[in-house]
Amino acid sequence: MLINNGFNEDKIQSPLRYIWSIFKGKSIAVVAMWLMIILITTSILSPWFMPHSPLTQDPESMLLPPYWAKGGNINHILGTDDLGRDTLSRLFQGLQFTLGGALTITFFVAFLGMVIGAGAALTKGVKASVLHHLLDALLAIPSLLSALILITIFGPSYTNCLIAIGLSLLPQFIRASYIVIEQELSKQYIVALQLDGATKTRLFRYGILPNILEPTITILNRLFTMSIIEIATLGFLGFGAQLPQTELGSLIANSMELIYLSPWLVTFPGLAIFLVIVIVNIFAEGLRHAVIEGEE
């Protein structure tokens, strides 16, 4: 009997490696990925290499414009705020809070949501239906409102804001992962696995998890985007990070009264939020396409 191996010139690539090789071909997405890595590392490391501390006041140079504008100073590339603090350092500190918060939320919510969603999808009966109705009810509450409710109960602070946003986004994520897993469960190969007598965990690990990569990326991306926007929004409304913590949204709120005097102070944090979301979205979109192409 002949064996096929002799003719298999290429090795069969592992799916992840295969997806990676497709992803590498998407130049914009790769650029976005590098930008994302740079953004995260710089905002974490910024206290060590920034020339100015984000809290140092300088009465001599208040409200400096960015250095390219008239009256700008090369010491403060993006200018200073009304207390003479360096805008760039403050932006990075803000990024630390916003981006870090969003990543934390994404991580925890994704984990919890996946577990609960999978639990709901894999179990039947009273437990699932109770969860279902509870989700229906919770999903009807706009996330901003539920975040406000939770913050009113906990009191405004950065950590509470993160908890509130996480909790308010959790139902959405549970529902999303539930739907995805449910869809996957109805597919033939899962039935085959079930007939093989696979346990729930095995079914989840080997049957479902590898096949829901693409929708998971979409959900995660959405979760991340929403949490950034919500952190910034709550910060802007004064329910999030409390001063002197500078979160990008509260940075905008604090400079709002200065908008005519120094519009840069409002422009830069907004642009930062915008760029972070765009970069992450492009990266996620690229990844998603790679996964889709890899699966096809």
């Binding site: 009997m1 002949l2 096929n4 002799g6 003719f7 298999n8 010139e9 290429d10 295969y18 090789s21 497709i22 071909g25 192409e293 890899g294």
Partner: protein, 336 residues
């Protein structure tokens, strides 16, 4: 006389790992008025060939052919518009799983009506006139009714007012056939028309197709993975393996004197009720699996599985034609 004459049709598909030649120099010659079976395992490229004939290919396909003629029209040189004119009137297609090939949001009536020849100005005018005369002639309704009766649907009114999801697969397939024959095309391509159907429905559909061929003299190209099923009604057969046409010939030639090892293997797989199998005897299969599309062997693609393969099989065999019986093999089975 050949209605459809395809020689050395190749299809390359662009993928992330480069171009893959999925159809490799396939040749097909369909005699006018015959039933031609295109037989191959699933994934062997039958549907691709059919789509290439219809021109329904995506932008990342490259289709090349030495000859691709439908009657006297060169299919490979048609513009989009010209091709559209041919589709439906000259060639039509019947798909597998018909219910998914019918628009779920339109009633059957609308869908059938849309394939009927467009009303000319004259007809419209006549219709208005007839309305004035209060002589109610709904020619279209009649036409549709006739079509449905032709394909064996009796309760036409009920069916016409249904959405596809309310009908069974068999009825849907009949509707598809009705739509396909609406314009009396010269060639009907039936792509596995009976998969996922009950046996009774299957034979109904086959009988219907056979009748069409006999009554209207419509040429039929039946794509199938079921050698046994299709061979029954086919006048001619072509076998495809991994995008290569291995053997082609009339029913008698194939059944009686298969030249290619693959054909022979297929013949052997047919369960023959006259033979008595021993208890626990193994049924015959070719060893190995069909290679996946990105790891196709070079030369004769059956090579690794072929019981008669030798070193020279890594080169592509040339087409041998004997009395309309063609095959591609370096070591054909000798006529016994």
């Amino acid at each position: 006389m050949a209605l459809l004459d395809i020689r050395n049709l190749s299809i390359d598909i662009e993928t992330a790992q480069g171009k893959i030649r999925v159809i490799d120099k396939a040749s097909l010659n369909i005699v006018d008025g015959s039933i031609h079976g295109l037989i191959g395992e699933s994934g062997s490229g039958k549907t691709l060939i059919a789509k290439a004939i219809l021109g329904l290919h995506n932008s990342n396909w490259t289709v090349t052919a030495d000859r691709m003629f439908l009657g006297k029209t060169d299919l490979s040189k048609l513009s989009q518009k010209e091709r559209r004119q041919i589709l439906g009137t000259e060639i039509s297609m019947i798909f597998q799983e018909p219910s998914s090939y019918l628009d779920p949001s339109q009633k059957i009536h609308t869908q059938i009506e849309s394939v009927l020849p467009k009303k000319t100005m004259q007809q419209r005018f006549r219709r208005i006139l007839s309305k004035i005369k209060r002589a109610h002639i709904s020619s279209r309704r009649l036409q549709i009714k006739e079509l449905l009766h032709k394909v064996g649907i009796q309760n036409d009114v009920a069916v016409l007012n249904c959405y596809p999801h309310q009908l069974s697969e068999g009825v849907c397939q009949k509707v598809m056939i009705a739509m396909a024959i609406a314009n009396n095309p010269r060639l009907i391509i039936a792509d596995e028309p009976t998969t996922s159907m009950e046996a009774v429905t299957q034979s109904q559909i086959f009988r219907l197709l056979y009748k069409l061929n006999q009554l209207n003299n419509t040429t039929l190209l039946i794509l199938s993975n079921n050698f046994a099923n299709t061979s029954g009604i086919s006048d001619y057969m072509t076998l495809v393996y991994c995008g290569q046409t291995v053997e082609s010939g009339s029913y008698k030639q194939i059944m009686g004197s298969a030249m290619h090892p693959y054909t022979q293997a297929m013949l052997k797989t047919m369960i023959n009720n006259e033979e008595i199998y021993e208890h626990k005897a193994q049924l015959y299969t070719l060893p190995g699996n069909i290679p996946s599309s990105n790891q196709l062997p070079i030369g004769c693609r059956l090579g690794p599985r072929c019981p008669r393969a030798q070193r020279i099989c890594v080169k592509n065999p040339t087409l041998t034609i004997k009395k309309g019986h063609s095959f591609r093999c370096h070591y054909p089975i000798k006529l016994s």
